[in-house]
């Protein structure tokens, strides 16, 4: 498969993921609004259960686009040539190791009173490092 087509497929998956995220989060908000209005929650156990399910769906909805993004990334790597695969391997290795080292260092700081760092921040940090290291290794093999 040509690199351009792989990229198009990956972009399509990301677009589907974002669209799904929007739909799922809107449905979740709408459900919460519907079932939490008035005294419905106090009077109706079913409404309470459904609202809880909606809340769960809303909280977990970012996983859907993330799943699509992971899928498209795997496909991009799978159909890349050997140099691109090597670049990705270097980049993900560097990002994982650097994230581990830096978050471990920050963990030590936390013991000494620094504010706690959330898991979501760590994952975002890792993705930023992955992107930066991809650019670096692509530049190195230019």
């Amino acid at each position: 498969m040509k690199p351009g087509k792989v990229m198009l497929l990956a972009l399509r998956d990301i677009a589907i993921g974002v669209a799904l995220f929007l739909v799922v989060s809107r449905v979740g908000f709408w459900g919460l609004f519907l079932f939490s209005s008035g005294d419905v929650l106090r009077q109706n156990l079913l409404a309470l259960v459904m609202a809880t399910v909606m809340l769960g769906a809303l909280i977990l909805s970012p996983l859907i686009p993330i799943g699509f993004i992971i899928n498209s990334t795997v496909r991009m790597v799978q159909y890349s040539d050997e140099l691109q695969q090597r670049i990705f391997l270097y980049a993900i290795g560097f990002a994982a190791a650097a994230t581990g080292l830096l978050t471990f260092a920050y963990g030590l700081l936390e013991f000494n009173g620094y504010p706690p760092l959330g898991m979501l921040n760590i994952i975002s940090f890792m993705f930023i490092l992955l992107f930066a290291s991809l650019l670096y290794f692509k530049w190195r093999f230019r």
Binding site: P3, S80, D81, E82, L83, Q84, R86, K138, R140, F141, R142
Partner: protein, 65 residues
């Protein structure tokens, strides 16, 4: 590892993009091989040798003779 890929490609009047298309790799990979920044795998080296109808050792060598 040194190679004669650039010369062989030049003899045939192919661009890096054309050679990449024939080998089924990206243009960046062809460029990286030509500049010696990346050594191809054995299957890719065989593909290159077949394309130019030469032996692998005629194209790739630790040092140019």
């Amino acid at each position: 590892m040194k190679n004669l890929l650039k010369d062989l490609r030049g003899e045939r009047g192919w661009s890096q993009a054309e050679l990449a298309e024939k080998l089924g790799v990206s243009r960046q990979t062809v460029n990286a091989i030509e500049t010696g920044k990346y050594d191809p795998s054995l299957p890719l080296a065989f593909k290159i040798a077949q394309l130019f109808e030469k032996k692998i050792e005629d194209i790739f060598s630790p040092e140019l003779k």
